[in-house]
């Protein structure tokens, strides 16, 4: 009987996700679309929990829904205060029809391919391989082991992608204007939420070695602290200026690359950590990655070239 109840839960969750996506994409108000997208992200986190993916659920709730939602709302606010919103013309009917038929065809083909692949579920599963080598990886959480040891190269390049996006955003125009001073409720809320978020980030980072968690989720929690500091009226969200800013921003990928290259000093290849040091090296990389991810996400939220990068300008605190 409990199996049927979970199936009903899954069907309801799937229907809810579908309705939220359709409502977010076809709503008339942009504001409503973004709020619905944030809710969509949070319900997706529930779907990840149902699919036994707690690390992904944490990341989706913090990064995919929280930080992305904050970025979208900030972009909407710029739109409203800046240029006038011109109503955009719709597309001609033949375009709409042809694209719709094409996408439906793609969807049916993909669904058929998925069901076919799912039915013939043969071949070795990667889970067994990871479990076999988990003891040699230095951590207990298999997802962290894959991210930072077995597929460390992918994570190194991912941090580089984040750095590239940060550089792109910093080059594209001036920073956002100074925030309005916030009311007493927000100020008090921020005052005790930020230390809590910092402690939670440290906890999630530490616990990521043997339970769901890790550097990305912890970095996103810290970034959330930075974002609410900005909403509470702090101009630079407590980030340092100039040289230290650059150091933190490149620290994640930099330390990762350095550790990977240093590991080659034995007879090993790139990123092949010595087995006894693997746990410590992973923690070291994760600490710098967390700081780097947090700083990058807050900087892309603040947007544009912050005045702090110019070495001979005074930094004003709002």
């Amino acid at each position: 009987m409990s199996f049927d109840a979970l199936l009903i839960l899954d069907v309801l969750l799937a229907a809810l996700l579908l309705m939220l996506a359709i409502a977010a994409l076809h709503s008339h108000s942009m504001h409503q679309s973004i709020i619905l997208f944030i809710v969509f992200g949070l319900v997706t986190a529930l779907a990840w929990a149902r699919l036994k993916a707690p690390d992904v659920a944490l990341a989706e709730a913090t990064i995919g829904s929280g930080v992305a939602g904050a970025l979208l709302l900030a972009a909407l606010r710029d739109n409203r205060s800046g240029s006038a919103i011109t109503p955009s013309p719709g597309r001609p009917a033949w375009q709409v029809l042809s694209v719709t038929y094409l996408v439906i065809g793609l969807m049916l083909t993909a669904a058929w391919a998925f069901l076919d692949a799912h039915a013939n579920n043969s071949g070795p599963r990667l889970g067994g391989l990871v479990q076999a080598e988990l003891a040699n990886s230095g951590v207990g959480n298999p997802v962290t082991a894959v991210l930072l040891n077995f597929r460390a190269f992918d994570t190194l390049l991912e941090l580089a992608v984040l750095l590239a996006a940060l550089l792109g955003v910093l080059l594209l125009g001036p920073a956002r204007p100074a925030p309005r001073p916030a009311g007493p409720v927000v100020t008090q809320l921020v005052a005790w939420l930020t230390p809590l978020l910092i402690v939670s980030a440290g906890y999630v980072l530490w616990v990521g070695a043997h339970a769901p968690g890790g550097a990305f989720q912890a970095g996103a929690l810290l970034a959330a602290g930075g974002i609410i500091m900005r909403l509470g009226g702090s101009r630079y969200s407590g980030l340092p200026s100039g040289f230290w800013m650059r150091l933190i921003a490149v620290g994640g990928s930099g330390v990762f690359l350095f550790v990977g290259l240093a590991a080659m000093s034995g007879d090993a290849s790139l990123l092949q950590y010595p087995r006894d040091w693997a746990g410590t090296l992973i923690l070291l990389i994760e600490i710098f990655a967390t700081l780097s991810i947090a700083a990058s996400l807050v900087l892309v939220y603040l947007g544009g070239r912050p005045d702090a990068w110019a070495p001979d300008q005074e930094r004003g605190h709002a």
Binding site: G183, V185, V186, L189, L193, L196
Partner: protein
């Protein structure tokens, strides 16, 4: 026995969520809807949390779940105040 109590608490929490949702959909004004949603969801979540706490054994887990409730209380109180202040300043916005 504990399972029964836990189920009763969770169901009553769900009733409050239901009432809050009906209030959100049917009440005429933004401030009224805010009242319904905030009160009902805080109490609903509290009952849900207490029902779940009865099922847990480790004190650290219980602390974490209670912390979730306290954080949601603070966030909804702060958010409610901000929405109400915004509505008070711009009463012409669509509710």
């Amino acid at each position: 026995m504990i399972d029964l109590l836990s189920a009763a608490l969770i169901v009553s929490g769900l009733f409050f969520y239901f009432a809050g949702t009906i209030g959100l959909l049917r009440l005429p004004d933004t401030l009224c809807r805010l009242h319904a949603v905030t009160k009902a969801d805080n109490l609903g979540l509290g009952l849900l949390v207490f029902g779940l706490v009865l099922q847990l054994s480790e004190p650290l887990q219980i602390l974490k779940v209670l912390l979730i409730w306290i954080l949601v209380l603070a966030a909804s109180a702060g958010g409610g105040q901000l929405i109400a202040r915004h509505v008070q300043r711009d009463p012409g916005e669509r509710s």
